[in-house]
Amino acid sequence: MLLFLQALLSGTLTGGVYALAGIGMSLVFGVMNISNFAHGDLMMLGMYFAYFAFTLLHIDPYVSLVLIMPTAFLFGFLMEKVFISRVIHHPHQNQILLTVGLGLIMSNTALLVFTSDPKILTTTYSSSAFNLPGGIYLSVPLVISFLITCGITAILSLFLLKTRTGMALRATSQNREAAQLMGINVAKMSGIAFGIGTALAATAGALIAPTYYIHPLAGHSFLLKAFTICVLGGLGSVAGAGVGGLIIGVVEAMSSTYISSDWKDVVVFVLFLAVLLLRPQGLFGKKGEQ
């Protein structure tokens, strides 16, 4: 029982960060109808950003978010303008080739520049934990990450629900042609969506940097997670992706606890396939949507 509770709580905390990455991917998919296969590599860049901000500039990884978020937004916005916008009306296989290619360029550049040695970001609180009654302990960095995630998610939700630009993003994702007829500049919305998606990926990367090995290929397993989260939540659904992230976090923690931590990626992959086979519209999607 104790093991179970421990896995449930730690899983939820990690899941929150995964959710952030999943929400970013889902937003891009919703607004642009593009699956971004470079999403995991963008997370990896966020990890390195936090690492170097900490080692070179002595900025705490959580504080470095104020630099990472705007930088990543701009990076994503430009990446959309220069590359992604060219394939937006093209068949999906062209879009996949492009984003896979961009991801490969990022991870291989990282290999060249940062080498394949994993880096570890050790803060003073990296290995400290909150001890809860009953013998459960929660890692301090995971708790902080989770709280930041909740804050960012709440702000993003408010932005999407209440602001003019946020509503325009939602309208574009619900019907791109109609959005255009309302006077919404859908090309600009694509740039904004990709910028936010990139910012969320990099933020998720920075948030887990203190608890993960940082290496150039770290993005690959995150891509699979982000993808599974999107599929779980129903592609394009931001709220669904939030819940999907928590589910993946808990499933991973449970499989590490009860099977073996080597198996957690396999379990996530099996879950991914199972959802695709049984409920391709996502756990919360309505039948008939795809």
């Binding site: 509503m167 939602r170 019907n175 042609e177 007829l181 309302m182 006077g183 919404i184 500049n185």
Partner: protein, 231 residues
């Protein structure tokens, strides 16, 4: 107000519209009627800039060709598309707000205007667009268009799939909208109803205009009677 000369448009390599000439004067209701696949929706999409075209489209002495779709709306050319295309996951009110995306300041007055025209929308303001009935969605689509301060309203088959009662409501609304000073370009398969309320009309067949005249002339034309009215 709108002058279309030698307009050609299509999808990819496939030409659909050939050498279309249409003029619309301020204050008119003009209908374009024709059978399925004749190119009516393509014509409206070319005007509103959703698809590319060649030829000239002049609106109040300005060429619309160089402009992006979202800029054309700004000029007051508002397109209510075929099949309503409302935002399904937004409430009725949010849908209307999106219609007023470019006109935040006039939102309140426009909203009252829409609610007076379609009281049903006021009742259902918090319902999700996607859960409205077909007829209600059509009212919402027209209402959403009105939120964009149209000077020229392009309506694509507003009576499609509507019961006779809803059809009456929609055609009545078009008349009301027109008498408030909005010029209307109406695309319809309900040929009788639309020609009856139109000042002028065009008949389009496989991408070309084959006949034009006042609404009444077309209603009495024997080819129109035979082809569309089953007489």
């Amino acid at each position: 107000m709108l002058n279309i000369q030698n307009l050609n448009a299509g999808y990819g390599e496939m030409p659909i519209l050939r050498a279309i000439n249409i003029t619309i004067a301020q204050g008119e209701i003009v209908s374009v009627v024709g059978s399925n696949g004749a190119g009516k929706s393509t014509l409206l999409k070319a005007i509103s800039g959703i698809i590319k075209s060649s030829g000239t489209i002049t609106y109040n002495h300005e060429s619309l060709h160089a402009l992006a779709a979202h800029t054309i709306v700004k000029r007051g050319v508002v397109h209510v598309p075929e099949g309503r295309k409302i935002f399904p996951e937004m409430t009725v009110l949010e849908n209307l707000m999106m219609g007023g995306y470019l006109h935040q300041k006039d939102r309140q007055t426009n909203l009252e205007r829409v609610f007076t025209l379609f009281p049903k929308l006021a009742e259902r303001r918090n319902q999700l667009g996607g859960t409205m009935s077909g007829g209600e969605q059509q009212m919402l689509a027209i209402g959403r268009g009105l939120m964009g301060n149209p000077k020229l309203l392009l309506l694509d088959e507003p009576s499609m799939g509507l019961s006779p009662l809803f059809t009456e409501v929609v055609f009545g609304a078009i008349n009301t909208i027109n008498s408030s000073g909005v010029t209307v370009l109406l695309v319809e398969q309900n040929v009788y109803q639309s020609l009856k309320i139109s000042h002028r009309g065009y008949v389009i067949e496989t991408g070309s205009i084959v006949l034009t005249g006042t609404g009444e002339e077309l209603l009495n034309n024997k080819d129109v009677k035979k082809a569309f009215l089953g007489m």
